[in-house]
Symmetry: C2
């Protein structure tokens, strides 16, 4: 579980990654997931990351300054290797949606 993310005022971009995992103990997914999060944070245009998993279904949302930043992140070598391993073994199915965040608002008990 990672998040919630702190993001600037819109507009910015979101990648919504929804997955169905075939959860095999020791398949290396969790380690790679953590490494990718650390790697993403070093990417130009990275804004934030949220990831929650329950009963084999995962939703990860990453936030980016631009579509160019998303394309660059998709092409990073370690990320590409993870995408291939994801299709080969970790995921039974996934959806990737690239969206432009138009507006946002927050609630916080302490900030009220």
């Amino acid at each position: 579980m990672i998040g919630p993310a702190q993001t600037p005022a819109p507009p910015y971009f979101a990648v919504i990654f929804t997955s169905i995992r075939n959860e095999q103990p020791g398949d290396g997914f969790d380690e790679t997931d953590t490494q990718l999060f650390e790697l993403a944070q070093q990417q130009p245009g990275y804004l934030g990351y949220e990831s929650v998993g329950e009963a084999g279904v995962g939703i990860t949302v990453s936030y980016w300054e631009s579509e160019a930043a998303i394309s660059a992140w998709k092409a990073v070598a370690d990320h590409r290797a993870a995408q291939e391993q994801g299709r080969a073994s970790w995921f039974d199915a996934y959806d990737v949606r690239v969206a432009r965040v138009e507006r946002a608002y927050s609630f916080g008990r302490d900030a009220s």
Copy 2:
């Protein structure tokens, strides 16, 4: 856990709802969550719903045909009551982001 959602070709809209819950047994959250999902499905312009929770952090993404459909859903009476109860008790914090899905792709082991 609800999802993943089956959605049509973009463009369409997504509401990304990220929350931090103060999990109190018997606080009625789960029942309301299920009711809201059933209610959302009856709304004009509803396209899909995904919701995952882990360790008090939740990500719910709902998909809609238009921003007007999102505004109408936000104004539904039972939904408004849930929003108020959410701020009063269920959530310590949440973020709502409204985004326009520009492109999407899927992977499925059986569909390959």
